[in-house]
């Protein structure tokens, strides 16, 4: 009789464990997906911000037209690449990132630009947008890491394997984006 109770208790514990791990896996899988869509949200924010930026700065900085043009062109490419393949979109966004970086660096060099309140606000928005994109990628990778740990580590890997949870793929940063651009306006 005692043996029956013990066996029953163990069975219940195992089932509870499986349920917990399964729910954890579902949660982290969904987190990975929502983190990925968050990146898109922030990229959209960047695309929307650029026309505004061009409007405000085009008169003030006629001596740096090519930097501005590069941003506008990169944005156009990024927007059109959005509906294409993932790889294409990532590459186009990478180009836009570096163009934006150059533009923000240009702002640094012109104190009279920094004095303009409109441009100061815009620059803050721009650096925040770039930060948001970076942080949303970071969060995506953190979520991927969390899921992969669950999928790989024992004994949750048994549950993951039998329910078909797979590795998530990290967001690798494009080479062009790796050059750090330090923006400091205050």
């Amino acid at each position: 009789m005692d043996g029956l109770f013990i066996a029953g208790g163990v069975a219940v514990a195992i089932i509870l464990y499986i349920v917990t791990v399964y729910n954890g896996l579902v949660r982290s899988k969904n987190q990975v997906e929502s983190a990925w869509s968050q990146i898109d949200v922030q990229l959209k924010r960047r695309h929307d911000l650029i026309p505004n930026l061009v409007e405000v700065t085009k008169d003030a900085m006629d001596y740096e037209q090519e930097t501005l043009t590069a941003v506008v062109e990169a944005r156009a490419k990024a927007v059109s690449a959005k509906d294409g393949s993932r790889e294409g979109a990532i590459a186009a966004e990478g180009l836009l990132s570096s163009a934006m970086g150059k533009l923000l660096a240009v702002f640094e060099n012109y104190p009279d630009l920094k004095a303009n309140q409109n441009i100061r606000d815009l620059t803050e928005e721009l650096s925040s947008t770039e930060n948001r994109i970076a942080f949303s990628r970071q969060h995506y990778n953190d979520s991927v890491n969390q899921q992969n740990v669950r999928v790989e580590s024992f004994p949750s890997n048994i549950v993951a394997g039998s329910f078909g949870f797979r590795h998530a793929v990290y967001f690798a940063v494009d080479e062009a984006e790796k050059e750090p651009v330090k923006v400091d306006l205050r």
Binding site: E125, S128, R132, S136, Q138, D142, D184, R186
Partner: protein, 371 residues
């Protein structure tokens, strides 16, 4: 307005020796002390605070058991010819009333926690006199909060500012979906963007780690222990009749219970009762403060995880260490909610066991290890 100016002047005068001491302390520490990274830090502090919480539950349950045990012993002392030492040790220690006391204590703290949690949490914002700020007025602050929310994968908290020259910040909200992050005007004026981001990251860390919920449940448990202990102590103090009667019974062996055993049982019961009602609240408070300090380290490590920039927090804490942070609207009940303790000085002496925050220098050292 004028009184505030003189006040801050007064504070500025006190700051000088403080500042020298801290910066000298930092210099003397030399280079990296103990290498670490945020992953290890987060894991260790989470584990430590979980274990200590279990310990706190043990203290509460044990206190309840001890009370029940003493009361049963005391009641038995009325029984004629009762001898507490007649049975085995197991028999001596086991008490049905004790188990009842233990369960009562734990269930009460659970119910009380639920009540406190349901009652809501906007009190803090109101208590420190914080004001909600719009995105137009505080663009950078709003942006920084939004960025940290994105990095942690949580919705953006509400943003408030306290118009106070002190350098401090806080987070509140029982769920991440319903949280508020507040900073002081002094902080906004003094820190640069990276440093502000680190401080907001620390507060976001509290939100992410559910620290408000954690702190609330723990303070309920500690509060309950203190309350019960106070009641016991008070009942001894006020009803001198009981105490003297017991003393009389003990000395003469008279009363309803007869014999030496009864007297001994009564004395043991009372001594145990007094002892636990002194020890339990004290140790509960110690554990609570220790947990609070671990959660601060945890939030620091989480800030590094979110910003991936230990230098920001390192610099922010460095700047804060050179100022006096007592701010006018803080009070003791909410001190654990802040970025740095609004009451403590930041030198070594702050490493007291009853402090809600680790000494600033220790937090700076930890970050130095992560740089």
């Amino acid at each position: 307005m004028e009184s505030q100016d003189t006040n801050s002047m007064g504070m500025a005068e006190q700051v000088v020796p403080q500042q020298d001491k801290i910066s000298q302390d930092i210099l003397e520490r030399g280079p990296v002390i103990e290498r670490s990274d945020f992953v290890t830090e987060i894991r260790e502090n989470k584990n430590a605070s979980t274990w200590m919480s279990c310990f706190l539950i043990l203290i509460g349950g044990g206190f309840g058991y001890a009370i029940g045990w003493s009361l049963e012993m005391f009641a038995s002392s009325y029984v004629s010819g009762y001898d507490p030492f007649s049975g085995t040790l197991k028999h001596f220690l086991f008490s049905k009333w004790g188990i009842g006391g233990c369960i009562t204590m734990l269930v009460t703290s659970l119910i009380w926690s639920v009540i406190v949690l349901v009652k809501g949490d906007r009190v803090l914002v109101w208590m420190v006199g914080a004001e909600y700020v719009t995105e137009e007025n505080e663009r950078q602050l709003h942006n920084v909060v939004a960025e940290m929310a994105i990095a942690s994968g949580l919705p953006k908290p509400r943003v408030v500012v306290v118009e106070d020259p002190a350098l401090n910040a806080f987070a509140t909200g029982l769920t991440p979906e319903n949280s508020t992050i507040g900073v002081t005007r002094g902080l906004l004026d003094t820190l640069d963007r990276d440093e502000l981001q680190a401080v907001v990251g620390h507060e976001m860390g509290h939100v992410l780690n559910n620290d408000v919920l954690y702190a609330t449940m723990i303070s309920v448990q500690v509060g309950l222990i203190a309350m019960v202990a106070d009641t016991i102590k008070l009942s001894f103090r006020s009803s001198s009749r009981t105490t003297s009667r017991v003393a009389y019974r003990a000395s003469s062996g008279s009363g309803r219970g007869k014999g030496k055993g009864s007297a001994a049982a009564a004395i043991i019961a009372i001594v145990v009762l007094i002892a636990v009602s002194i020890i339990a609240p004290l140790s509960a408070k110690l554990v609570q403060m220790s947990i609070s300090r671990k959660r601060e380290f945890l939030a620091d490590a989480t800030a590094v995880k979110l910003t991936r920039n230990p230098k920001g927090l390192f610099d922010a804490l460095g700047k804060i260490s050179t100022t006096k942070n007592r701010f006018s609207n803080a009070n003791r009940a909410i001190q654990h909610m802040f970025f740095v303790n609004p009451f403590r000085d930041f030198d070594r002496n702050a490493s007291e066991l009853f402090s809600t925050h680790p000494p600033l220098i220790e937090r700076i050292d930890k970050l130095r290890g992560m740089l």
